[in-house]
């Protein structure tokens, strides 16, 4: 069973501080949905409101079409996985997993059977008798998932559960989580500040800033067609050039910047349309930049090489450009050709207009 989650004009205030502002959102049943944003953007607040630990100051939360006002967390069809997992340290693994069944009054033999089934699902067979403290970080993670699934929720809420794991395990758990979600088929709502996690796992992502949802969309839309400067600068890396709009025509904008005139697409997702004479940002991803060839007519940028870093699969090359204190970054696939670049050398870079994004000036993500 999966249920859709609707947030209707939800406001959450703590005194004079507004943690979530005018949230209007529908999360489809069976979807893997992520809230992505920096810490303090209000994403955990929203999760706590959906799970029932927080009452919205205004607006309604509907799960499966049913208004959740006045229904406590113990009676909502949701299960929450805490950031620190909050497993019960004085219970065995199987008792942890079947706590929700114990609450319902299911007898011990039945519970034990269910625990073994779930241990199978999370690939920890035969570990039921262990204490939680005897497990590794990744195993604990999976026990927390099993414990939440045992409650047979219609919506599973996950509050940055992977943040305590090391990189390798985190990447492994992403795949694991996604496949568990496909198998059980319930709605997952995932909170993270890690864009990698949000993009790899989610069907849809909501990017949040200061209590406001900046953009909702699938991973490719968020990455390729950011709707605001904040989304462009928070999700992935972007080089930024500031300038004035010369013309807007057929989804393309011409912007005069300190590095020259740049042609860039204006995404349909943009929250503020561009007008001639406006101040605008042009964003170009490091992997979209490359060295200019003689036949490249437009979007040429003169730049001086200042540094380069070798990362195995990629070369990261840094340039100094006129009118910008922050170096421009370019990522090149390591194709085996030896580096012929020298520090201080002046080169010309190019980024296709279709891969450049022009957006009206607005707040950026903190570095």
């Amino acid at each position: 069973m999966s249920a859709d989650v609707r947030l209707e004009n939800v406001w959450i205030k703590f005194g004079s501080f507004v943690a979530a502002r005018e949230i209007e959102l529908t999360i489809k049943g069976g979807e893997f949905f992520s809230f992505l944003g920096p810490s303090g953007c209000g994403k955990t607040t929203i999760l706590r409101a959906v799970s029932g630990f927080l009452k919205p100051s205004e607006g309604n939360i509907l799960i499966g079409g049913k208004d959740m006002a006045g229904i406590g967390p113990n009676r909502r069809p949701t299960a929450l996985i805490f950031q620190n997992l909050a497993l019960f340290p004085l219970m065995t693994v199987w008792e942890n997993i079947t706590f929700a069944l114990e609450v319902k009054g299911v007898n011990a033999t039945e519970r034990r059977k269910k625990a073994d089934e779930l241990l199978e699902l999370i690939a920890l067979p035969g570990q039921g008798e262990k204490m939680v403290g005897e497990l590794s970080g990744g195993q604990r993670q999976r026990v927390a998932i099993a414990r939440a699934l045992a409650a047979e929720p219609e919506v599973l809420l996950l509050d940055e559960p992977l943040s305590a794991l090391d990189l390798k395990l985190r990447q492994h758990m992403r795949t694991e989580l996604r496949s568990i979600q496909r198998r059980v088929g319930i709605t997952f709502i995932y909170i993270t500040h890690d864009q990698g996690e949000a993009l790899t796992m989610s069907d849809n992502v909501a990017v949040m800033r200061d209590g406001v949802i900046e953009q909702v969309g699938d991973g490719t839309t968020i990455y390729d067609a950011p709707g605001s400067p904040f989304v462009a600068s928070f999700v992935g890396e972007n080089n930024l050039f500031r300038g004035t709009v010369e013309s807007v025509d057929n989804g393309m904008a011409t912007v005069t910047t300190t590095v020259g005139t740049l042609l860039a697409k204006t995404p349909v997702t943009a929250s503020n349309p561009l007008k001639v004479g406006d101040t605008a940002y042009v964003f170009q991803r490091p992997e979209s930049l490359r060295f200019a060839k003689p036949d490249n007519q437009i979007n040429r940028i003169k730049a001086t090489i200042v540094n380069e870093e070798f990362e195995g699969n990629f070369w990261q090359v840094y340039f100094e450009v006129p009118g910008s204190t922050k170096p421009v970054k370019m990522s090149m696939v390591n194709d085996g050709s030896s580096s012929e670049r020298r520090r201080g050398e002046v080169v010309e870079l190019v980024c296709e207009p279709e891969l450049s994004v022009a957006l009206a000036e607005g707040p950026l993500a903190a570095e």
Binding site: S51, G52, F53, G72, P73, N74, R75, T78, A79, L80, F82, Q83, N84, A86, L87, F88, P89, L90, M91, F99, A100, E102, V103, K104, R147, A148, A151
Partner: protein, 309 residues
């Protein structure tokens, strides 16, 4: 060797002056104020009550007559057991157990509230209002209870004014004043260990249990209380020992017909002038208390180190 290394480490860590001071003070405390008096008491309890002139003389030999007396009473009495003293002893132990349970039931919600629910200034105000009454001397507090529970006391006045009783209820004769006084006297000794234990519990655990559908009582039974077990046993053993060993409250608040075991001990030492018999009675009380603590530790499956935490 291990001890030598430990001491050497201790000295290098704290410096010679502080080390000597700490070891000296703690050693003095343990040896002269705890071990030595108990050894004397133990030795005393096995000797006849002799006039000073005969002490150390040929008649000063070991005996178990005082322990026998507690069990079987005087040879002149008609009962085959020392019914009076044994009844008092049992009643003291049973009452102390009930006072302990009573304190736990009262203090657990307060400690939980202070540790997990109350915030900042409000919590501090509550703690303060718990502590302030204990700035008053124990004996004065007992007398205050006597006044409150007396036949012309506030409680009886209120009950009569409301028409619940026609005549003053004999709170003191029925020992209710004593139970209340004892319970109140050790409230802090129950609250603080409980508070310490509950306070270190991660709030998320409570929320997780709630999120998984648990009603409040099961959260306490399965999550909070198991976690607070060391605090619970620490508080319970302390309250039990102190109420079983209380003297002032039973003296002042006890009904005219009821004795507390410590009062009998006191009588043997003081008015009875029989120190060896008093010692024997005291040793029995001490050993019972220790057995109780060990029993509680066994039942709750906690180690001594956890209680002391």
């Amino acid at each position: 060797m291990a001890l030598y290394n430990y001491l050497k480490n201790f000295f290098t860590r704290n410096g010679v002056f502080l080390s000597v001071f700490l070891l000296g003070v703690v050693g003095f405390w343990i040896f002269f104020l705890i071990i030595l008096p108990q050894i004397f008491m133990f030795d005393f309890s096995f000797r006849f009550n002799l006039p000073p002139a005969e002490q150390g003389g040929p008649n000063d030999v070991y005996t178990i007559s005082h322990y026998k007396f507690l069990l079987f009473g005087s040879a002149l009495s008609e009962d085959s057991y020392n019914v009076i003293d044994l009844t008092v002893f049992l009643r003291t132990i049973v009452t102390a157990v009930f006072v302990t349970l009573f304190d736990f039931i009262i203090c657990y919600p307060i400690a939980y509230y202070l540790a997990q629910v109350a915030k900042g200034g409000w919590a501090r105000l509550m703690v303060l209002s718990l502590i302030v009454p204990f700035w008053v001397n124990e004996i004065l507090r007992a007398f205050a209870f006597r006044i409150i529970f007396g036949s012309n006391g506030v409680i009886n006045d209120a009950l009569m004014a409301m028409g619940i009783v026609d005549d003053p209820y004999p709170f003191i004769r029925e020992n209710i004043a004593l139970y209340a006084g004892l319970g109140y006297a050790f409230v802090l000794l129950m609250i603080f260990p409980l508070y310490n234990a509950v306070e270190s519990l991660d709030k998320n655990q409570i929320e997780a249990a709630r999120d998984l559908g648990s009603p409040w009582w099961r959260i306490h039974w399965r999550v909070v209380m198991p976690f607070a077990k060391p605090g619970i046993s620490s508080g319970c053993t302390m309250v039990f020992m102190l109420s079983a060993g209380a003297l002032a409250a039973p003296q002042i608040l006890g009904g005219p017909s009821s004795l507390w075991f410590t009062q009998i001990i006191y009588q043997w030492f003081n008015t009875g002038g029989n120190w060896p018999r008093g010692s024997a009675y005291a040793i029995v009380l001490l050993i019972t208390s220790i057995v109780f603590v060990l029993l509680v530790m066994k039942i709750f499956k906690v180690k001594l180190g956890e209680i002391a935490r």
